[in-house]
Symmetry: C2
């Protein structure tokens, strides 16, 4: 005969599928000798059979429940419905996968008009007994009988008012008896039945209700969302009740085996005597710190400590434990791996390795890389109160407090005076860079996660909020409004770039911590990981930061960011507006010197590690003034100053801007398409790179330049650009007599490049997958448009499982990457491969990159540590399975 019902001592943690998560856990704790209130679990199979039989509990199951109940009664020495020593139980659902709050629970089952008296007698607390009984009626009536809680709450409120009470604790035992009578009347009115007095009837009704709750509406929706099969069914746990509110020798509390905030190795937690869990939550009395218990109840404390040690050792992780003390006896109700801050996660992981509890790889797996972000940016103290004024896009993590300014020059001015400012703009342009440098953080009302402000701020590791549309900026009057709130120039605000929230005034902050333990954990990660980590950096400062954070090279140096320096942008504009090749070269020569200096600094910072430099990528019009602003200016001048030289000048500029403007800039004249039409620009850049490498080599510092041609879609594009690079490099090297190795490769960022990677590899030493653009072209949507218009809805409505710009889309984009790697290596087995899109700093994407066999990932300097950790985790989890995954 199949076994449907398991006493807690008959199961273990491997029996989740049969006992559900909670049941398996209760069994496990029971087996390792913890004082768990005894009980039994009705298996998920019983639930499935119940449904198969048309919602009928079979005789076999019923029989097994009754047998288990007898054994429970024997073990506890109590009996269900007994009028001298009644057994009270809880009946709870427990499915294979946690579905918090989705299904039903009944506490205090076994209460009736007779047993309540026994409870009152036994606890010597009439008020407690009747209060418990009325809670049971309320819960049972709602969960099992399906009566709306509203009726009970309303009746209780009326009673309180009638008696002139404000809160429930004012009610006496007699008052509660009145309430019970009222509750019973409600049941009779609503369901035309007497409230069931037979505890066995109560039990079976409750079990049935838990089975039924598997298919309530919210559980069905939850399972659909979380992709949990409907066929699993739920188990039912029947457990004897214990009470922390049976007097001053009773209590309830929560204990962490280590400090979840700092990771310190000492018992942490709090408790409340003569109370139940819900009293702690209600916050009416202030709980005591756990170490006070040592003085109050030394034996219990000692037992708790031992239990905690046992549990931590058993689960090999920091535990979050719920306990109840009933008349001086300790019961453990639940244990689970404790949630912790990033700092604690690192500390605990490293400590446990030192203590020999876990090995290094386990420690590495225990820390969530995303959480590490906390440690690398200043952040708002979690304990501080925050009242957000409004919310925008969380464009760059970190928090900052400062005075509001609306102008880059003012930001710079105040910055020089040592004031902390936050630059608030409708959007930023290259002209604002000095203001961003000077500011603590940037807020814009327009633009998305890839807007100028966002990209620049992330690169600098500054907090940034973008596209905060509720923020109406009035530049003329130097203020912004959100609804009725007016924030003026100089007012202090605080922003949280990790959530997008803006708050008025200052909020307490926590500075970033780079503890020794953190460094140690990362060094272990470096030993383990089989995939390199580089950083995206566009200038010497960022390169040094990246190197400090452990980057093994620069994976992406975007040369256009060098163009955007406010001192350089006029030269860039002159170069673009030049009417012919000769005029253009004059300005290119000036830019050459500037870029060369940047490259020298970057090469020096990287001390011989590889530096991948991408030649100019964005379309030319990005460096010119905004077309619409210009159009408005010209229109105004035409009406007000039709003969002014200013108008003529602006009209000329507008004409050029119009010429260069594009319908779809993302798909326009950019990347290597610039290099093919204006080879002189790429040539200048290559010359600057090679010149710089020569200079640095001459200083005795090794260099490894990797010159990257963007946006290649056809091998012929790369072939031409490679030839240009080689000819230019050869010229410089033979002129200076300084020779060194360099690579020429390409970004794989349009689908055609991945599809024809075998051809492209003929001309490439390396591939770097530009997954930002590759995601845009593979999906056929531009990030700026999608995020503002439909992507949010897509994610909310589960049309897409997640934002493909945050987490790499393995099914589509990933397939192209796999093709690119496989085809590329078919042509050139030693082809170097990496990824330099923003995905390079995201853990699931890093895992994919490892599986796809890439040589490295590259990400923002501030994400390098987490990428190192994520890379190690991927290696540990998938070691040896790369070949299969990539086919």
């Amino acid at each position: 005969m199949e076994k449907y019902v398991y006493l807690f001592n008959e199961g273990n943690s491997d029996m989740r599928n049969i006992l559900g998560g909670k049941g398996a856990n209760l069994a496990e704790m029971t087996n390792i000798g913890l004082p768990v209130p005894f009980g039994f679990t009705i298996s998920t199979q019983a639930c499935n059979d119940y449904y198969k039989a048309g919602k009928k509990i079979s005789d076999t199951v019923e029989q097994q429940i009754l047998v288990a109940l007898e054994q429970l009664e024997e073990k506890t020495g109590k009996k269900l419905g007994d009028v001298t020593n009644p057994l009270l139980v809880s009946v709870r659902s427990g499915s294979v996968f946690s579905m918090p709050g989705m299904m039903d629970t009944v506490l205090n089952l076994g209460m009736n008009d007779e047993t309540v008296k026994a409870v009152a007698r036994l606890t010597n607390n009439e008020r407690f007994a009747y209060d418990s009984y009325r809670r049971f009626i309320q819960m049972f009536s709602n969960v099992v009988l399906g009566i709306d809680l509203f009726y009970f709450e309303q009746f209780l409120e009326e009673t309180r008012e009638k008696k002139g009470y404000k809160v429930d604790p004012e009610l006496t035992a007699e008052d509660w008896q009145e309430v019970i009578a009222g509750y019973k009347a409600i049941v009779k009115r609503q369901k035309k039945i007497e409230f069931p007095q037979n505890p066995q009837e109560q039990l079976f009704l409750a079990i049935r209700a838990v089975f039924d709750s598997w298919n309530n509406q919210r559980a069905i929706v939850y399972r659909r969302i979380h992709k949990i099969p409907d066929s699993l069914g739920t188990a039912v746990n029947v457990q004897s009740m214990v009470f922390g509110n049976m007097g001053n020798d009773s209590g309830t509390g929560v204990a962490f085996t280590r400090n979840p905030s700092t990771g310190e190795h000492q018992l942490y937690g709090e408790y409340l005597m003569n109370a139940q869990g819900e009293d702690v939550v209600a916050g009416i009395r202030t709980p005591e710190a756990i170490h006070v218990l040592e003085k109050e109840m030394p034996d219990v404390y000692k037992k708790l400590l031992a239990t905690c040690q046992l549990l931590e050792k058993h689960y090999q992780d920091m535990q979050d434990i719920e306990f109840t003390i009933e008349r001086g006896e300790l019961f453990i109700l639940q244990t689970r791996n404790g949630k912790r801050t990033a700092q604690a996660a690192v500390q605990i992981g490293v400590d446990m390795v030192r203590e020999g509890i876990i090995d290094k790889e386990t420690a590495i797996l225990r820390v969530d890389p995303e959480q590490l972000n906390q440690l690398l940016h200043r952040r708002i103290d979690q304990t501080a109160k925050r009242v957000p004024l409004t919310k925008g896009l969380p464009a760059s993590p970190g928090a900052a407090t400062g005075a509001v300014v609306f102008d880059a020059d003012e930001a710079e001015q105040l910055g020089k005076e040592g004031k902390k400012v936050i630059l608030v703009r409708p959007e930023t342009t290259p002209d604002d860079i000095h203001g961003i440098v000077a500011a603590e953080a940037v807020v814009t009302s327009r633009g998305g996660m890839t807007s100028h402000a966002a990209v620049v701020a992330r690169g600098m590791g500054k907090a940034c909020i973008c596209g905060c549309e509720s923020l109406k900026i009035d530049l003329k009057n130097k203020l912004f409004t959100v609804g009725d709130t007016v924030v003026k120039y100089g007012d202090i605000i605080t922003i949280d770039g990790s959530t997008g929230e803006i708050m008025l005034g200052g909020v307490a902050m926590i500075e970033p911590q780079l503890s020794e333990e953190f460094k140690l954990l990362l060094s272990w990660a470096d030993q383990v990981r089989e995939i390199g980590v580089r950083a995206n950096a566009d200038n010497p400062v960022d390169a040094r930061k990246a190197f400090e954070f452990g980057a093994g090279g620069i994976g992406l140096c975007r040369t256009e960011h060098m163009f955007m320096d406010p001192k350089r942008i006029p030269i860039v504009q002159s170069m673009i507006l030049a009417e012919n090749y000769e005029d253009r070269t004059v300005f290119l020569d000036q830019l050459l010197i500037m870029q060369q200096g940047d490259f020298e600094g970057i090469f020096e910072a990287m001390e011989g590690h590889p530096v991948t430099i991408r030649l100019l990528d964005p379309p030319m019009h990005e460096f010119l003034p905004d077309k619409e602003e210009l159009l408005v200016e010209v229109t105004k001048l035409q009406l007000t100053a039709p003969d002014s030289p200013e108008l003529a000048e602006k009209e000329r500029l507008l004409k050029k801007v119009n010429q260069l403007s594009e319908f779809n800039p993302m798909l326009g004249h950019r990347g290597c398409r610039l290099g093919i039409i204006y080879p002189e620009i790429y040539e200048m850049q290559v010359r600057a790179i090679i010149n710089a490498a020569v200079k640095v080599t001459e200083k005795g510092i090794p260099v490894k330049p990797e010159i990257m041609i963007p946006l290649v879609g056809h091998v012929n594009e790369l072939k031409r650009m490679r030839q240009l690079v080689e000819e230019t490099a050869e010229q410089v090297m033979s002129a200076t007599g300084v020779y060194f190795d360099y690579l020429v490769g390409t970004m794989i960022e349009v689908p055609r490049a991945a599809l024809t990677a075998d051809r492209i590899a003929e001309q490439a030493d390396f591939f770097s997958f530009g997954t930002n653009d590759l995601t845009q072209t593979t999906f056929g949507f531009s990030r700026d448009d999608a995020e503002g218009k439909f992507l949010q809805t897509y994610i909310e409505q589960k049309v897409l499982p997640e934002n493909p710009f945050a987490i790499l889309d393995r099914e589509g984009v990933g397939k192209l990457i796999e093709m690119g790697v496989t085809l590329g290596r078919k042509t050139k087995s030693n082809l170097k491969t990496g990824i330099c899109g923003e995905h390079g700093g995201e853990k699931s994407s890093i895992e994919f990159c490892y599986l796809a066999g890439l040589d490295y990932v590259s990400c923002s300097p501030y994400r390098v540590p987490l990428a190192r950790l994520a890379a190690a985790q991927a290696t540990i989890q998938h070691r040896g399975s790369i070949v299969e995954a990539v086919r």
Copy 2:
């Protein structure tokens, strides 16, 4: 011993690789008994050996040449250098692939101071003999000795002047002797040698020169461009000379075995007595029509006729024959398949089948589908003189003459008055549709091949030229200028939409001809082809045209074109500007009725053939006024009428336009992304389709609607939209009680759709590859930007082999299509697949579609006939190889 030299009677047409094209052809003609001047061919292998040996003719080759020469002398009864009956020969290159004009030729070789006298004697024409000799010196000196022609031309001119002559024919035999002396002096001065008098020395020098010309600069470049391997080498043909200028019993001419213009089955051509080929070209005398020869030289004519019949029968195709008559004797110098007009190609193909010369499949293969375009659009008479004023993009084929108008209303007005007008606009918008309908053709100065004007005109089969940037339009003064030319309102112009040329005034036209032979040929094609042909049509008129042209269904009905009707656009705008769902449905209900009417018409026109209807695709802002124009208006009003209600209204509109505007509209909120965010719009469209289908079914006409969801990238998008379609259809059908089958499918037009086609096929009954967008996203460039900015250069500089928007890119886009088909059929073996991009009407792309195993192609109604033919050709050429090609 290897054979290097072949007499003409030793080779045949299969020996191209050894003898080159010309040599193989001369051998073939000799073998079938034609009177070809005899000679021999030195093989390509001899050329390659010549280079391998460091430019040295080996003894073996030399020996074989001398033997062949002896045999030639024997056959002709003449001898090289003989002073009584000298042999004169031509020495010409002849490579495996034709490289016209790339390599060298020497005529009249064998002339010297002695043989010239013999020639004079034999021809009884001293003047002819010395003229021939001086021509030989000039040609030999230039080609073999490398002396610039300039010296000879200058000397000849001086001589003419000195003698007071105007043209060469005035020179006497004595004059030519003087010239010869002068020429020899030039050779001596330039090369320090006497002009070679030994004919054998002349021969070997000339052979050497031909070998050398294989590697001259222009031949190398030509081979690179045409991808001809350098290793092939050239053959050398040595052939005895014949002369058509030996008196009035000599002559030269060209004959076509059938009329190359009409295809009529009768000898066609012209000839000139006492002349050489170059005299015909010089145009000093007017040639006679070939039939005159019948009277002048009946025997020769009879022989020519017999030869022509023999040649046509032998080559089984219409021949273009060069002949010379030397003293009453006919010689054939060359024959090749004759070029012909589309009309002739069709006529000849059909006639030859009827005559039993070729089979139907051969006839099908003989007609170039591209050429058929000529027959389907009115065109400019090729014999008419055309002086283009300027040139734009050839956006829609056909030709038209009319009066210039600059405004759609004027076009409509004049059109109603029966005037033919050409609408000239900077660009067109949906507001101009009535003007385009009324006009003969459209010209725009802005916009590319996919601009509004281009798409609409192609759909209507009207000629269109776009992006004609040299055309400066002055709308205020109603004129346009090109350079200094001013064209005013009402002036007559003619445009050729196939070339992009604009001409002043009228030019003679030819109306499209749909002969019985053409229809017959297409009916043969339909019997053969294994891939369907559908048409893209957006309204009942186009659908009827498509059906008439033989379309087996509608492959793409773009519902947005129905929105763009000027009567509807205000309703569409109101619908878009609606602030909420309720307001929007009011306007949707109005659109429903209009769309339903269109669908009814289309279903009726197609008489039960499938009709694929794509739901709304373009982004909303495309239906609203232009943002920049609005911005200018608002700016002006702000200055001139700041309190006007007009300003308030325009500002409101501008705000909405700004809200809806996108950075990259091509990658924006369009396609099914609209359907997911505004399901009410798609629901309206589905309702209109199903309502229409019900109505038409009730009339007893069968319907096969195929509802197509655009721009799907993830299966979930299609899943939702399919559900919407099915629910709406079910509602209508159950309400009306009329049931019929319909399909739901998707466009595959972003790479992700092709990459995940196995998933998407779960929800699709059919795939239609939208190769316009798929090309844009696969390459990562937008057509509008690429064509204006860099694509032209890419094609000119061979970065891309051809325009991927015209000819499907098999390597990249094709790979995605193959993946899409393979993955899709893996999930659903009966998945219907087609293509509906513009490639569907292009022959190479149709060939690819056949190889990829697609079920049908769909193209503009006017391209349906050529698609039918191209589909048949692909079938004939690749029958049985589909499976391998798709893997």
